[in-house]
């Protein structure tokens, strides 16, 4: 019974929520805590309805994200993709033959056959060790979409994002005695899991679901508007009032004296012939004019102040240049006591202005430099990206080709063997069922070693 009111998500959630509680809580499997239709595997939760929760109780839930089911942002470097599951590595391991796989992938593969999936050399599960830290770092930095809210962030941050920040993720209900889960964005201060009577149909529902009930499922949710008789939602009545075409409204020039009223849909008609129209429009224009004039005055005032200050500064500079020697003294010997207070002030101001100008120039330069830096980084990035992609493509093509060459080489080998040596292959022909497995492995090993001989000779 998928209920539209419960916003916890669909059936293919790529993450799991763990709701384990403190050990002293009485633990029992309470299926009521989870609404049907949710694919959240919540583990045992408490029935401790009579215990009150300590105020610092953590409402967050641990989330485990299935890294193979999430959406990655952009194309992932081919070197970080597991050749078995074709996803960015999950818990990568390095084999003794220098190949990287996900741990679960290679474990599965080795349980089927004890060969390296890439080079077909014997490989035991002991010859597999944790991949270098660098690979982990690269994987951690991969950008992925949050399965709940869709925000893009580093893959390694997903779980903590879901646990602590994601507004669309589920948390424990803040109610002290409540064991239900709610989306973080609607988990306010209090538990909203208390029964309320729907004002429309008198049914009882939890407050948290009331809005959805009144909008979607309430039997009495619709009513006819008393003005326009259109079907409207009871809970949206006020909103409709604001836009109903049949509600009587005053003329838009009422402010300037029009006493007329009309239905909203008829107002434009009246507005066209309203006797206050000309005045109203004029008044509007005047208002606008006044507003623009005011702002003009304000800017004028500002410029005026600025100019005043500049004039003062220039006067100061004038006075300073009247006494060049003093200025020299000041700047060279840095002996302020030897000059008059007046000159001191203007000299200071002058130096300060110089300093300011230099500072301005400096910050401009540094802005330019960083701008240039960004540009060149972008350029470099743009140029290397296609090369990198091409390289990855070439590498995979080369691998496939390699495989084929090996495979064809084996054909050729055996053909030669048959033609010149009259080898073992010549006698048994066709694939009749029931070949013995020892023959099979002998034959394989034989052809493999021969191929390798040929390759080393080449």
């Amino acid at each position: 019974m998928p209920s539209p009111r419960h916003p916890l998500g669909d059936h293919s959630l790529p993450y799991t929520v763990h709701t384990e509680l403190d050990s002293d809580d009485e633990v029992s499997l309470d299926t009521d805590t989870i609404t049907d239709g949710d694919n959240i595997t919540a583990s045992p939760s408490s029935r401790g309805l009579h215990k009150s929760r300590p105020p610092t109780f953590n409402l967050n839930l641990r989330h485990t994200v299935d890294l193979r089911a999430i959406t990655y942002n952009g194309t992932v470097d081919e070197n970080l993709v597991c050749p078995i599951c074709r996803c960015p590595f999950v818990d990568p391991v390095l084999t003794d033959c220098d190949h990287v796989f996900c741990r679960p992938c290679i474990d599965d593969a080795l349980s089927e056959s004890q060969l390296c999936p890439i080079d077909r050399l014997p490989l035991s599960s002991d010859a597999v060790s944790r991949a270098p830290k660098m690979i982990f770092n690269q994987l951690d930095a991969l950008k992925a979409k949050c399965p709940c809210c869709g925000v893009v962030l580093a893959r390694s941050m997903l779980e903590s994002h879901l646990e602590k920040y994601c507004l669309e993720a589920v948390v424990r209900c803040p109610g002290a005695e409540c064991v239900k889960l709610v989306k973080r964005k609607i988990s306010g201060e209090d538990c909203l899991h208390y029964p309320m009577v729907c004002p429309d149909c008198k049914e009882t529902h939890d407050e948290i679901d009331m809005e959805a009930h009144r909008e979607n499922s309430c039997n009495e949710r619709l009513k006819a508007c008393e003005h326009c008789s259109a079907e409207i939602l009871r809970c949206k009545e006020e909103q409709h009032e604001g836009e109903c075409p049949d509600v009587v409204q005053p003329c838009k020039w009422a402010e300037y004296g029009c006493q007329d009223e009309a239905k909203r849909k008829d107002l434009p008609l009246h507005a066209d012939e309203c006797s206050y129209k000309a005045m109203g429009q004029m008044a509007e224009t005047l208002k606008k004019e006044i507003r623009s004039l005011r702002s003009e005055v304000r800017t004028m005032n500002e410029t005026h102040h600025l100019q005043e200050r500049r004039i003062k500064f220039l006067e100061g500079g004038q006075r300073a240049s009247d006494r060049p020697l003093d200025m020299m003294d000041l700047s060279l010997a840095n002996l302020p006591e030897s000059t008059g207070a007046d000159a001191l002030e203007s000299g200071h101001e002058y130096l300060l202005s110089l300093l300011e100008a230099q500072q301005g120039r400096l910050s401009q330069l540094s802005a330019e430099v960083s701008d240039f830096q960004a540009k060149s980084t972008m350029m470099l990035f743009n140029e290397t990206l296609p090369i990198k992609n091409e390289l990855a493509e070439l590498r995979s093509t080369q691998q496939v080709t390699c495989m084929h060459v090996r495979w064809l080489m084996r054909f050729r080998m055996q053909e030669n063997q048959r033609r010149f040596g009259g080898g073992p292959g010549a006698t048994s022909n066709g694939g009749s069922d029931g070949g013995s497995s020892s023959d099979l492995s002998m034959g394989r090993r034989l052809s493999d070693s021969l191929t390798r001989d040929i390759i080393t000779k080449l």
Partner: protein, 153 residues
């Protein structure tokens, strides 16, 4: 979502992008069974101008387990003549057996291997005991033990 489904989803996205010449996707409904058409590109007189249809069946353990690959007959889609291909479409190729399979293989690489297997063939014949095999075999191809080392063609 199972492991096989995720992996096949990735392969399908790639297959929709581009396939090597002579290989075309026919249907890939669900993640259990796909149909692909292959053609031999060089002028081998046995296969010239023909298109062959391949059926891939995936188990839930794909790619750890190999898919079941057979040729299927239809209008304009014969079963290619080859000393390792039975007239009911069953293919005797070590790559597709439990022994020769590697999980890094994929649908595309299997198709390319089959293409080159046909390209290199010069014998316009069926395997020995074809009629008997086709009449009596009720087993799945994966369970049949072929003499894979007998690749004398």
């Amino acid at each position: 979502m199972s492991f096989a489904t995720k992996r096949l989803g990735k392969e399908l996205a790639k297959v929709h992008g581009n396939l090597p010449p002579g290989i075309a996707l026919v249907t890939a409904e669900g993640f259990q069974e796909w149909l692909l058409d292959i053609q031999v590109l060089d002028a081998n007189p046995i296969y010239m101008g023909q298109t062959y249809r391949l059926k891939f069946k995936f188990s839930s353990s794909y790619p750890i387990e190999p898919p079941e690959v057979t040729f299927v007959a239809g209008p304009d889609r014969p079963i290619p003549m080859h000393p390792h291909i039975y007239s009911n479409g069953i293919i005797c190729l070590d790559l597709l057996g439990t022994q020769g399979w590697s999980p890094v293989q994929n649908v595309e690489s299997i198709c390319m291997s089959l293409q080159s297997m046909l390209t290199g063939n010069t014998k316009n014949e069926r395997p020995e005991g074809d009629e008997q095999f086709v009449a009596s075999n009720r087993r799945r191809p994966r369970d049949i033990d072929f003499y894979y080392h007998d690749n004398t063609v």
